[in-house]
């Protein structure tokens, strides 16, 4: 149903002659994701049209965060964190979808310049000694994010309908951090980016969760006292209620 509506919308929207000059136009089914207490992950449909031939690459990035990757080593039989590497300003969410595997669309040099593909996200540390172990820390980081379902890559998951229309689905798991996300849509032809469009998607906490989260962060002392009194009251109530029977 949603799909048909979207197709209908696309057909009417893109038939406007003024847009004919734009190489790629796209839109998402939802600009706003609200995390409330029923939130269990969601998906966003992305639709668009290309003007001319070429492949489509869609990238959705989450707000940047800093990460630390630690490596355990065995010390006297106990496994301890021994070495670590910090990565700054890395997207907390990163989904790539494309109409063909990225390697078939363009060369790695272009990927790196545009920050397309998971391998372009982390910067090796300036420290020479750490540089040698960069790759294993990088792959550990990517493995972690993939395990959390926060990083995903879906080659060949952008499908064309007719010649110009394309669509794809971006999955957002339940653990996405709130913040501003951006969906970038690239049209790549003969190894060159011929068109690009980006759309923000906001992920915010809503309902009771937003209230509790803000309460915890803005009035931590009041929050602590509330938590304590809630527990005191619940425990006292339970003790009174059931106490008679024991």
């Amino acid at each position: 149903m949603i799909r048909w509506l979207a197709v209908l919308w696309l057909v009417t929207f893109f038939s406007a002659p003024a847009l004919a000059a734009m190489p790629v136009v796209a839109d998402v089914s939802n600009y706003h994701i609200e995390i409330d207490s029923r939130f269990n992950g969601t998906r966003i449909f992305l639709f668009g049209a290309r003007n001319g031939n070429g492949d489509i690459v869609v990238i959705v990035r989450g707000p940047n965060q800093n990460y630390i990757v630690r490596k355990k080593e065995s010390m006297a039989g106990i496994w301890l964190n021994r070495s670590r590497m910090k990565f700054y300003n890395v997207p907390s969410f990163y989904a790539v979808a494309s109409s063909k595997p990225l390697e078939d669309i363009m060369q790695t040099g272009l990927f790196e310049r545009l920050g397309i593909g998971q391998k372009t996200l982390l910067q090796p540390p300036p420290n020479i000694r750490l540089k040698n172990s960069f790759e294993e820390f990088e792959s550990a980081y990517l493995r972690f994010q993939k395990g959390q379902k926060l990083y995903s890559s879906a080659p060949e998951q952008v499908n064309f309908m007719a010649q110009t229309l394309f669509k794809t689905v971006i999955e957002f798991p339940d653990n996405i951090p709130p913040g501003t996300y951006t969906a970038e849509i690239y049209l790549v032809s003969d190894g060159e980016v011929v068109g690009m469009q980006s759309t923000p998607i906001s992920v915010v906490k809503g309902g009771l969760d937003a209230v509790l989260f803000q309460f915890a962060h803005q009035y931590p002392a009041m929050y602590g006292i509330t938590a304590i009194f809630l527990a005191l009251f619940a425990g006292w109530g339970a003790g009174r209620l059931f106490g008679k029977y024991n």
Partner: protein
Amino acid sequence: MNVYLPIAEMSVNIFLILGLGGVTGVLSGMFGVGGGFLLTPLLIFIGVPPSVSVATVANQIIASSVSGFVAHWRRENVDFKMGWYLLGGGMVGSSLGVLLFRWLKQLGTIDVVISVVYVTFLGVIGSMMAAEAARSIMKMPKKAHVAGKVPLAQRLPCKVEFPKSKLHISAIMPIAIGMFVGLMVSIMGIGGGFFLIPAMIYLLGMPTSVVIGTSLFQIIFITANVTMWQAITTQTVDILLAALLLSGSVIGAQFGTRIGSKLPADYLRMLLAVLVLGVAIKLAFGLFTTPDDVFSVSILDD
């Protein structure tokens, strides 16, 4: 049915959390312990961040301790004077513990420290309990243990009278014990009844009748202190998670009390000892066996 936890920032199954709360409730009803030693590792196991687990379990233990305390208070099984001394030390210890927790978290060794502390103490206390329960099940003569006759507590200076426990011992002992337990509470996310009860019996020489009520009395304040500190310094107390755990444990405790009253005390203690040792062994495996992934990733706050 899933519910999204605002502080843990993840979605969990409501019935799983209620069930975990229920299981710990059954334990606390059966054995008179808070069950934090089981709850914190279980929460970590289902993916709740360790810092959120520790802080939230402290919050939920307030509730289970209060409901137990009410019952003991009614029977006048609480030595308030001793409780205040333990509490004095406990407040200092638990506050230091929160700072220590934060420091270890920055160093990246908090997981290992938590595991080592758990394995050591659960292992020692579990074995002691198992040995004693076995002795008494097999009707072997008990080791001579006379209330009020503890050499160290009597040799130290600053002696104070504790009429309810019929003791005249050094005030340094309860304060030191309280401090140590407080430290453990904030690092391990447990109530501390595990350390406190044996320490009160064997190190202070308190009569068994007032031990549980008095330990619950001081645990209420210690866990409240930890909850407050964690709320202020780390913002890791998840009220929603605590509320769910609480609801489960209140119901579980009722079943636990009924089961507990039907089983002979020695078997009950043996059962608890086996459980404690089981958790210790499981955690020890985690420390000594090669991990599935030697790498771990976490978000850097600064």
